[in-house]
């Protein structure tokens, strides 16, 4: 196969690393003492970070309001189950759709913005939604959370048991399927168009690329994935409270993605693993001052691993496997 075809096929093929990554999650299920509840939440954080990666990593748009879509998905799943639609899988899809539609509308609103203005508008919209949900106690139960959320067993068979086995497998399956779709998407011409618009919107205009349409679509898509992550959280914890759309969550997911590495689709999961695991560790070690270590970790990441852990690890692995002499500084092309 001529070299250029191999070049593109190479990018699309599932590498050994990727398969090992997903297999590890399956193996973790069988390890007797593994903390399935924590791993499920890491997966949910990871998927949530991947939704932000579509925006930030692939289209270069930072957002301080991604938790708004996460929260919309979480509450939609909550309301569905409260009004009788307790089947989880369809509930997940509907939640993603609702969040996606709101994402499309948000996309049209923030179209012309970038930089700090974009951060502030997304922050403002997120705060408005949080304030509304927290204050309307009759509608959402406010701070005490939405009453009456109960989810039927998956496929009618697997009940959400206490140990979290069903919850873990359900989350893993959902995350994997959504991830496979996203992976195919970013390897399609649409993904390349996003990267092009991230690098140089003016050049894209002169290639006739509908960058505004693409921006609205990627906002809708990223919102849908964030909504499904939110729905997964509601379904596995059978509870939802205003905290799901707090500013703190939007800041945490941004931190997670930057630590993991934006623009590699796996950065979200790697970042979630590092962040949630370390936060749990620091909190257990020193419950009062663990915020300090989270802050330090963030400062060090931004200083030394400018593009996140994943590229740093990949770079290390590449240098170790092939001496740098005969190999040009291969940038990990997405």
């Amino acid at each position: 196969m001529s070299s250029h075809r191999a070049y593109f096929a190479n990018q699309a093929r599932w590498s050994g690393w990727e398969m090992a990554f997903w297999l590890a999650w399956v193996v973790a299920f069988f390890i007797p003492q593994s903390n399935l509840a924590l791993l499920s939440q890491i997966l949910i954080w990871g998927l949530f970070a991947v939704s932000l990666d579509l925006l930030l990593g692939y289209r270069g748009l930072p957002s301080f309001g991604q938790a708004a879509f996460f929260g919309i998905g979480a509450y939609t799943a909550g309301y569905l189950s409260k009004f009788g639609w307790t089947e989880p899988i369809t509930g997940l899809l509907v939640s993603g759709a609702v969040a996606g539609v709101v994402g499309l509308m948000a996309g049209r609103v923030v179209r012309g913005l970038h930089g700090v203005a974009l951060l502030m508008v997304t922050l403002g919209l997120n705060s408005l939604l949080y304030d509304f949900v927290q204050r309307s106690t009759e509608l959402t139960g406010g701070d005490d959370g939405l009453p009456g959320v109960s989810i039927a067993p998956v496929l009618g068979i697997f009940k959400f048991d206490m140990v979290g086995r069903t919850g873990y497998l359900y989350t893993l399956a959902a995350c994997f399927l959504i991830f496979v779709l996203l992976r195919a998407l970013v390897r399609s011409p649409f993904g390349l168009a996003l990267l092009g618009a991230r690098d140089n919107p003016r050049r894209m205009q002169m290639l006739g690329a509908p960058i505004d349409r693409d921006l609205t679509l990627v906002m809708g898509l990223s919102a849908a994935v964030a909504g499904m992550a939110g729905a997964l959280l509601t379904q596995t914890t059978q509870f939802v409270a205003p905290e799901v759309l707090s500013f703190q969550r939007s800041a945490d997911v941004l931190v997670i993605l930057v630590i993991g590495g934006a623009g590699f689709l796996y950065g979200g999961f790697v970042g979630a693993l590092a962040f949630i695991f370390l936060r749990d560790l620091f909190a257990a070690l020193n419950p009062i001052y663990w915020y300090f270590w989270i802050g330090l970790m963030l400062v060090l990441t931004v200083t030394f691993f400018r593009r996140g852990l994943l590229p740093a690890l990949a770079g290390l692995w590449a240098r170790r496997r092939k001496p740098a002499v005969d190999r040009p500084a291969q940038e990990v092309a997405p």
Partner: protein, 385 residues
Amino acid sequence: MTGLIRRQALAALAASALLSAPAMAQETVKVGLLLTYSGPSGLAGQHADDTIKVFQQRYGSTAGDKKIEFVKRDTTGPNPEVAKRLVQELIVREKVQLMIGPDFTPNVLASAPLITEGKVPTIIAGAATTGIIGEKSPYLMRTFFAIPQLVAPLAQYAYKTGARKLFVLVADYAPGHDAENLITKSFQAQGGTIAGNLRIPMRSPEFSSHMQRIKDAAPDAVFVFLPQGELTVQFLKAYSDSGLKASNLKLLGTGDITDEMLLDVAGDTALGVITAGFYSTYHDSALNKQLVAELAAFKHAPNVPIWDALRLIYDGVAAQKGAPFNGDKFMAFAKGRKFESPRGPIAISASNGDILQNTYIRRVERRDGKLVNVEFETIADPAMR
């Protein structure tokens, strides 16, 4: 994830096992402790730890023939997702047989199904909303307070002492809305009228507009319900800065707004404030005086709900001497139990496990150089008799 206390406890256990004669292996009852140690409300967790230290200094770490071992976890505030995971971790992996907390209502609601399924008697020491204890899980008990226990007596007191037009100001969140409905209903039941009500945002650095609304309504008393923290301190400051305090307009509230944790921060702005509370460090009882003295070393007030939870656990475990610990037996023992608490006589309701206790009307006064809540009226809980 071994908590600090757990490591010390393990070391102590190993030491005692070596030293003591090879008696029958002493059973250890593990007690899960779910409090907030970090973030804005991290203070409560630290005060609870000190209270536990004092309790264990006095009563040791064994009850009857069983050893009590605490497993500590930080819920990081009202964070249902984290709280539920930690409860699951404690029940499934740490195999705790008793639990104190989690604090905050959303955390309790999220964990209730697990507590029921795990059959782990759990004592709530930090969530006041109604509709949790007895309804969400048969294994829940409470040593904290329920909002109606303070609000209803306060309405009666206000009317009795001449208030006819009451202004109701609450923070705009679920417990605030509960308190608003309760005070309105009970005050109107007495024959009083509501001069006006206001729900202020949870994050509200600027209070002058709220004070102006109170002035406009010209009430003869003001009822306030706010979460413990900066809102209370700012409200009291604004109340005095705006001249409302000088016009000696009576200010009534639940015990939260004059809690000992905030009293010295609020300073003189809290003087004369009348509240309905369940505990005051100035409560006149030998048990309380000794406890307050011991906690003075830690420079803060005792966390009485935690103290009473420990009392209940130690007594309950001791009652099962000679037999392995059983959760259901503990529930049967605890429900209906009456005992003396530093706050005064309390009981765990036999019907739903909620707390029955006196409500005290108190006024903030300066006694030997320190601001305290002086209790001047006791309203007994009708179900207590």
